[in-house]
């Protein structure tokens, strides 16, 4: 065995001596492994606690069997500004005090007092506690840029994934129903729009407006063409060419005078002073819609 080995070999210890050696070993372990412990020693001397070497930022340190006077303690609530996190693993009664197994770690380098990060369970003051300074070291060089302050976010939505999937399914089904219903509605509207408009449908309002004297120029043209269509259909001239049909209409004893009077009213540069439209258009006021087939679907009028 070498001399160095002999110096490191354990010596036989008594109960009191062993306790002192254990404390020193624990302090050494804390120093080396960023851990820290005291074995039931009440820190009466604050200067002694200020000498305790604390770990680096983010590394946890432990205090086991740490006796603190007064009522039971618990960690103070943590806020976004808290730079030292204290956790109490176990609390045991120790006379009129309590013995704690606690750990702490720092989020920023500096010196902190553990008293600021605990509180009494019963809400009483912690002023009777001795100072418990700890130092959090930084392994970074001075002047490092600090990270941004964490952004405050909205609390997470209620429900989670299953609720989200359920809501998506409901929305999908609802959308499908809306689409199906709207498609059915548009079909109905298209069918209604495709319903052939009879000449009577078109003629009656034009006649009424002509008699009221409120026809626009375009509607006057429409009135004339609609009356021609009316008579062409009534005389079954659909198979004749349009020009020949109109020539036939002009010679018809009933349609001819009407069309000529209309031509005079609508086309002559010097029409009669007044045209008695009331009499002229009287027969066309109450043309029954069902009395005429829909010209738009007449086989003769279609190619």
């Amino acid at each position: 065995m070498t001399a160095a080995a002999r110096r490191a070999a354990p010596l036989p210890l008594g109960p009191g001596r062993a306790r002192v050696v254990g404390t020193l070993l624990a302090g050494l372990t804390l120093f080396v492994s960023t851990g820290f412990a005291t074995n039931g020693r009440l820190p009466q001397d604050t200067s002694a606690t200020s000498e305790l070497v604390s770990p680096t930022v983010g590394a946890a340190a432990w205090l086991r069997d740490f006796v603190l006077p007064g009522g039971e303690l618990e960690p103070a609530p943590v806020t976004l500004d808290t730079e030292l996190i204290v956790r109490i693993a176990e609390v045991r009664a120790h006379g009129d005090a309590f013995r704690y197994d606690l750990s702490f770690y720092g989020l920023a380098p500096g010196t902190y007092d553990l008293r600021d990060y605990v509180r009494r369970v019963d809400g009483s003051t912690t002023a009777d506690l001795p100072a418990l300074p700890v130092t959090i070291r930084s392994v970074l060089a001075p002047g490092q840029v600090r990270p941004h302050r964490p952004l405050e976010r909205e609390p997470p939505s209620v429900g989670g994934y299953r609720l989200l999937v359920g809501l998506a399914c409901v929305a999908w089904v609802a959308g499908l129903v809306v689409i199906l219903r709207s498609g059915k509605k548009s079909d109905e509207e298209a069918a209604a729009a495709a319903r052939p408009q009879t000449v009577a449908d078109r003629l009656q309002p034009l006649v009424e407006r002509a008699r009221a004297g409120t026809l626009s120029q375009a509607e006057r043209a429409d009135l004339e063409l609609t009356l021609i269509a009316f008579w062409r259909e009534r005389l079954a001239l659909g198979s004749s060419g349009a020009a020949r049909a109109l020539a036939t209409l002009r010679e018809h004893p009933e349609a001819g005078p009407l069309l000529r009077r209309l031509e005079e009213w609508l086309h002559r540069p010097d029409p009669p002073e007044t045209t008695d439209l009331d009499v002229l258009l009287q027969p066309y006021r109450n043309v029954a819609a069902e009395a005429l087939p829909a010209l738009g679907t007449s086989s003769e009028a279609r190619v």
Binding site: R211, A212, Q217, G241, A243, H267, P269, T274, L295, V303
Partner: protein
């Protein structure tokens, strides 16, 4: 034929008399064909040109010839063939050997009435030269521009049956013709009269022999009208009233050609202009001082049809342009206008009289 209530001015009556004289002169040579004569007069009075489409032997050349003689107009006829050159129609500069200078030889286009027979047999270059001259009414030969004589009317013909070795006129060039009239065979009654007249034709002695007379020999060389009367008729056409209602009809029809599902190319604005112009002339020929829908319906085929081109699908379905146009005309008034929304039904109040529609429209 003249409506005295509508055409009371002396100038209008003189024009009506002039038109009647032309009709009577043509009727002495050509049997029937009143519609063709009417279209020729419309073309002459409006300064438009006319393309006659029909099988051979329906008196196309005879009509042009008798019209020119009746009005004492210069008449030229050009038979279009595949080897025809533009200079054969327009003219060219030729070297005069005596003077060693170029002199201009004017082509047959320098006339009042040009019959371009079977225009679709000429090459497109020749067709373009003629159609450009029809539009511009000017010819440039060498460095000199010549104005064509007035009146200037081209009566072109084409045979719809024989298509081998022909060059179909494209729609853009057909648009230059105000009217395209499709000639039909005469009615049986007219054809009997035609044969009777032909049977009365004898022979004409010439030199040592004789020549069998044709209808051309029966044309009276004495004119029935003068240049001044033609000018008066052209001015009378411009005096025919066109109402706003009639313009609405024309716009409606032209728009229907553009919006019809079977039509690929509808009527151009020139189609509407031609409809108005030809309707005015037709009204004058029929003794009216204002146009009516009958003019529009009668002329729609001749004015609009050659300006329309059907879609391939419609042609494959067996549709013709005539079918589609007839459908458009037949449904005018029967289906809602493409220009105005349908008038909603309403209950109107009774009025015993209405203001005159024509009071609010502009005169022609």
């Amino acid at each position: 034929m003249t409506d005295p209530a509508n055409a009371s001015t002396p100038a209008f009556e003189e024009t009506a008399d002039f038109i009647n004289r032309i009709r009577e002169r043509i009727a002495t040579v050509v049997v029937g064909q009143e519609v063709v004569v009417e279209r020729l007069l419309i073309s002459l009075f409006t300064g438009g040109h006319i393309l006659l489409q029909g099988v051979p032997g329906v008196a196309k050349t005879l009509l042009a010839s008798v019209l020119s003689r009746a009005l004492d107009l210069e008449f030229s006829r050009v038979q279009f063939t595949i080897d025809l050159l533009p200079s054969d129609i327009l003219g060219s500069e030729i070297l005069d050997r005596r003077t060693n200078e170029f002199r201009t030889h004017k082509g047959p286009i320098f006339t009042n009435l040009l019959l371009a027979d079977e225009i679709n047999r000429a090459a497109p270059k020749v067709q373009s030269a003629l159609l450009e001259a029809m539009q511009e009414r000017k010819i440039t030969i060498g460095n000199t521009t010549y104005t064509l004589p007035a009146p200037f009317l081209v009566i072109a013909t084409q045979n719809p049956v024989e298509q081998a070795g022909t060059f179909e006129l494209p729609e853009a060039q057909l648009d230059r013709f105000m009217l395209l009239h499709r000639l039909d065979y005469p009615s049986p009654e007219d054809e009997r009269e035609l044969l009777r007249r032909n049977a009365r034709l004898g022979v004409r002695r010439a030199e040592k022999g004789a020549i069998v007379q044709t209808e051309f020999d029966t044309i009276d060389s004495k004119p029935v009208g003068t240049d001044a009367e033609i000018v008066a008729a052209m001015e009378a056409v411009n005096g025919v009233h066109v109402s706003e209602t009639f313009i609405a009809h024309v716009v409606e029809l032209v728009n229907r050609t553009r919006n019809h599902p079977a039509v690929e190319l509808g009527g151009s604005p020139r189609a509407g202009i031609s409809l108005i112009k030809s309707s005015r002339a037709r009204a004058l020929v029929h003794g009216r001082s204002y146009v009516v829908p009958e003019d529009l319906f009668a002329l729609a085929e001749d004015v609009v049809l050659h300006r329309m081109r059907l879609k391939y699908e419609a042609l494959a379905d067996g549709l013709t342009g005539h079918d589609v146009l007839e459908e458009m005309l037949a449904t005018m008034g029967a289906t809602p206008s493409v220009l105005i929304p349908h008038v909603a039904p309403r209950t109107g109040t009774n009025h015993t009289s209405a203001p005159n529609a024509a009071q609010s429209v502009s005169g022609a």
